[in-house]
Symmetry: C2
Subunit: 320 residues, 2 copies
């Protein structure tokens, strides 16, 4: 389907809109070849930006990070940055959603020559989509504070897979998540093999101890919500630092909260067997959460979604 | 497309045949949703069996391993084992290929409830396909012996991602492969962080030293070709062992060869800067390679492809 020739009714897109190989389509039709190395070798990088009440949050920061991730894995797309940006706008516009979770994926694709095993021979391609908002932690759980398990599976070391390059290789995180659910917990944080806290499935973690806010210096994505939290701490004159966090400090924290594009600032009320404070979100976590959303409403780092956006198209590619 | 109602011309399947969510289709049409956790979280396990001159090689062993991989990741398919087996037969039969590379993938799928982040909520599904034979190392390169680079990227530790559970998380292997290509080498082997040899992208590695054959005891898939090589060594009364292999031993080997379903026994003639023997496949490697293929031709561990196979189908699922 090509955008210039097909204008499906809006409701076809209510579950989401995608862009795959030059064409826009309802999310239900958006697929990747089972032979694409983005699937068979998890050879892809991605990023996710959210749209809140009709505006992207820190869109440029996400596009910057996406570009850095691609460069780190030697991925190069046919679409340039203004085109990618226009595609994201158009995906959201097609859905008609005010609040949305918007993903961009650069996939290795397939070799131009059959049988090649060389990444450099592959035709890289962009997948983008906008879908209804997803919270990593459901709103009612955020209200009481998430129960956070500490995984027995160690996080993959940075030297083997760079966590700063946003990727789909979640096996260690998924192992931890299943373990957390087995114990009746909501979600999980992983430590590295030296017992230092890293991150969880889709979020950074913060620890509050003696009035200071700390977030791990290793094994973790350089989260854009993490950066936002550090900016909010500066605004509130709360000392905050990216630092090593031993497991013991995590277990002995005054407060813990999570930070992610898919949910913002999410307070934790239990860490493993330990109940924090009064088993509810801590005061500093709650304050940061409130400010994070209030500033959203005030237009902080906002880029209005272009509802009439027509993405410039590359010609000649088939949807497949 | 449903197999019972559509019988495309044979040439539609000449590039491959796939089974996705209850339907057979030409490989070009076989896709996975961009929202499937098998893609977005690389939450899938797989296996690959080859077909040589019309017969599967060690099909039961591959199905056994596939079942173990699924169990390890708590994946459960709607298709039972006889059904999966019938689907593989039918994929090959549809292509008309005598030599084929046949994959089965169990993917986490998507949550039954929108917004769930729980692996247990997902609808797991099977993808299978048969495509023309692919050698990990092209035949002309096998002839002169592969040039094997030793990666600077350490293999992901077994404790974080179990390499015995066959998975798509190839990022560390891909990093090594790109490094190998940068140095003009054909492929790569990774060592773990302690400097012990593990495996390469899609193959096990063997070292021959003082008449003994060794293969790493860690960081590596329990390859079915690896098992075949160990059986051949027993048949030839060559001492063989699964053992720790320090990098120094790899660099000081008399011979090195690779073992994989996608190519069999593949001799190596250079390891990093070092030329092995006379820069050609070593005598023991060549002997094992010859025997491996001769026994194939003699029907070793062979299951004839059922050319008239009709796979029993589950009803009611759409191709998507």
């Amino acid at each position: 389907m090509d955008v210039s020739t097909a204008k499906p009714a809006a409701n076809e897109y209510s579950s989401g809109a995608a862009y795959v190989r030059g064409a826009f389509m309802p999310i239900a039709q958006a697929g990747i070849s089972v032979l694409d190395w983005g699937f068979t070798r998890s050879d892809a990088v991605y990023d996710v930006v959210h749209v809140f009440r009709g505006g992207f949050f820190r869109l440029d920061d996400h596009l910057d990070r996406f570009a850095r991730s691609m460069q780190a894995r030697r991925l190069a797309l046919p679409e340039d940055r203004p085109t990618i940006e226009a595609i994201l706008h158009r995906c959201v516009a097609l859905t008609g959603l005010a609040d949305s979770y918007v993903a961009m994926v650069a996939s290795r694709g397939r070799p131009r020559v059959f049988g090649s095993r060389r990444p450099a021979d592959c035709e890289n391609h962009l997948i983008a989509y906008a879908i209804p908002w997803i919270d990593v932690v459901p709103p009612d759980v955020q209200e009481r504070g998430a129960h956070l398990w500490i995984a027995s599976t160690p996080r993959v070391p940075d030297a083997s897979v760079d966590p700063v390059v946003k990727n789909h290789q979640w096996s260690d995180l998924t192992s931890g998540l299943m373990e957390a659910h087995d114990h009746g917990f909501d979600t999980v944080v992983l430590c590295d093999s030296a017992g230092m806290a890293t991150e969880g499935p889709g979020f950074n973690i913060f620890v509050v101890k003696d009035g200071r806010v700390l977030t791990p210096d290793r094994g973790a994505l350089h989260g854009i919500t993490r950066r936002s939290v550090l900016e909010l701490c500066a605004e509130l004159s709360i000392p905050a630092e990216i630092a090593p966090i031993p497991r013991a400090l995590l277990e002995d924290a005054d407060e813990v909260f999570l930070a992610t594009t898919a949910g913002g600032v999410m307070p934790v009320s239990r860490v493993g067997g330990r109940i924090l404070g009064n088993d509810r979100p801590g005061p500093l976590s709650a304050r940061l959460k409130e400010l994070y959303w209030r500033k959203h409403a005030e237009g902080w780092h906002r880029t209005e979604v272009r509802r009439d956006a027509e993405a410039p198209m590359r010609g000649g590619q088939d949807a497949s």
